[in-house]
Symmetry: C2
Subunit: 250 residues, 2 copies
């Protein structure tokens, strides 16, 4: 293994406003000079838009539970209903915050339901199956460019013990999500016991550094991770979700 | 704000084995072509070594509590004693895992005490004050090179709900640790309500992508974050530690 690498993160410029049915891989492929081994990181928001996962709050009928929670948290009742619909379980509902486990098993604020950058009175839901989204975008990229970069679908998640959000991989295809050093040796030949690096999350975080939240740069290329990229789509980012029965904090 | 940026992550090659008293800023400055606005990310392990925060397990006398916990978790009793000494509180002790709040207020496995890459029978403790470590390394870099890049001291932390570790900033100087978009507008002019990006953690994650755990590349340069770098050392990574009274999961 060559330990000396360089990494580049490049924006994909000029993407249009995305709507339902748009083929993201095609749009990205037409605007990016892709190379083998690249990782294309795509913001969840445009994936949700392309997949029609944007809903009008007017069309939502809030249940009594949603109205109670909304009153308690100072949130909109229709928005809370959407959050409940997306949730397998509400983990915390206090101080204006709803932390939920989504139907996918992701733990995040508001079950990933988000009203920014989708227009007034509307909310974006997470993709139904973010790993499938990543695979589809990868297929479209392959078809459009002849190159099959890895694809990560990313979203900003809060953390239990740390202030602020960091971008994580909610879906991926063609990228090894975890780099497992358990049982391998450190520089001194001593076995590493617990080293399992969340490469896909770190790639999502790296891509986030080149955008700001108003930039309209919802896709980026991370170049230099070719040793983690495979022809096969691989297990996806589902492997990064800690199952409830292995989680000491749920 | 210019939303189109590029980011580069470059290894600092050829650092020698670090020992107590080594001036990391000087050693890094002699091996890196630094530019204004760079962020130098330094692994906690070499900071701890330079600060003499490596101890011999032989010299540790384990208390009864440490011996009990060690037996319960299948760990070494002296190592558990070191972990308890570094901890303000043990949050979880089950399934072979000790999750602690350190004296600094960091929440991580084993209170950051780590036996990899320090030689047999030894363990590295976290720096006493990682923000002070970052400031000192920054001063040394400024003195050695005439340039004052921002400095991040990073470590790999597990996450509550996600598998694997990601690198985070346990100390920083000269880098704005959080990019606060709350109250600013999204691309459609709608106010962002909860967007607070943990830039320092994302920079640490990006730097981690160019090393593997046996590579001996304990320092990297993240180039392209100059808009977050300041002359002043700023508040440090302490601002990324969520205080217990704001934490819904402690």
């Amino acid at each position: 293994v060559n330990g000396v690498r360089e990494l580049q993160v490049l924006p994909v410029p000029g993407l249009p406003e995305i709507g339902q049915g748009d083929r993201l891989g095609e749009l990205i492929g037409a605007r990016a000079q892709l190379a083998e081994g690249d990782v294309v990181v795509v913001s969840q928001k445009i994936v949700s838009k392309a997949e029609g996962r944007v809903v009008s709050l007017d069309a939502v009928r809030a249940s009594e539970r949603a109205r109670d929670l909304a009153a308690q948290l100072g949130k909109d009742a229709a928005l809370v209903q959407l959050i409940l619909d997306e949730s397998r379980e509400v983990l915390r509902a206090e101080r204006g915050v709803l932390v939920c486990e989504t139907r996918h098993g992701l733990v995040c604020a508001n079950a990933g339901v988000d009203t920014s950058n989708v227009g007034d009175g509307r909310a974006a839901l997470l993709p139904d199956d973010p790993d499938a989204s990543a695979r589809r975008i990868r297929d479209e990229l392959r078809e459009a460019t002849g190159i099959a970069p890895a694809v990560v679908v990313s979203d900003s998640f809060g953390r239990a013990w740390r202030i602020g959000q960091a971008e994580v991989a909610i879906g991926c295809a063609g990228l090894r999500p975890l780099d497992d050093w358990r049982g391998k040796a450190d520089a001194g030949g001593r076995p590493l016991t617990a080293t399992l690096i969340a490469v896909a999350d770190e790639a999502a975080a790296a891509a986030d550094l080149i955008r700001d939240k108003a930039s309209g740069i919802p896709a980026a290329i991370v170049r230099g991770l070719g040793h983690h990229v495979s022809d096969a789509d691989g297990p996806g980012a589902g492997t990064l979700r800690r199952p409830r029965d292995q989680d000491l904090f749920r």
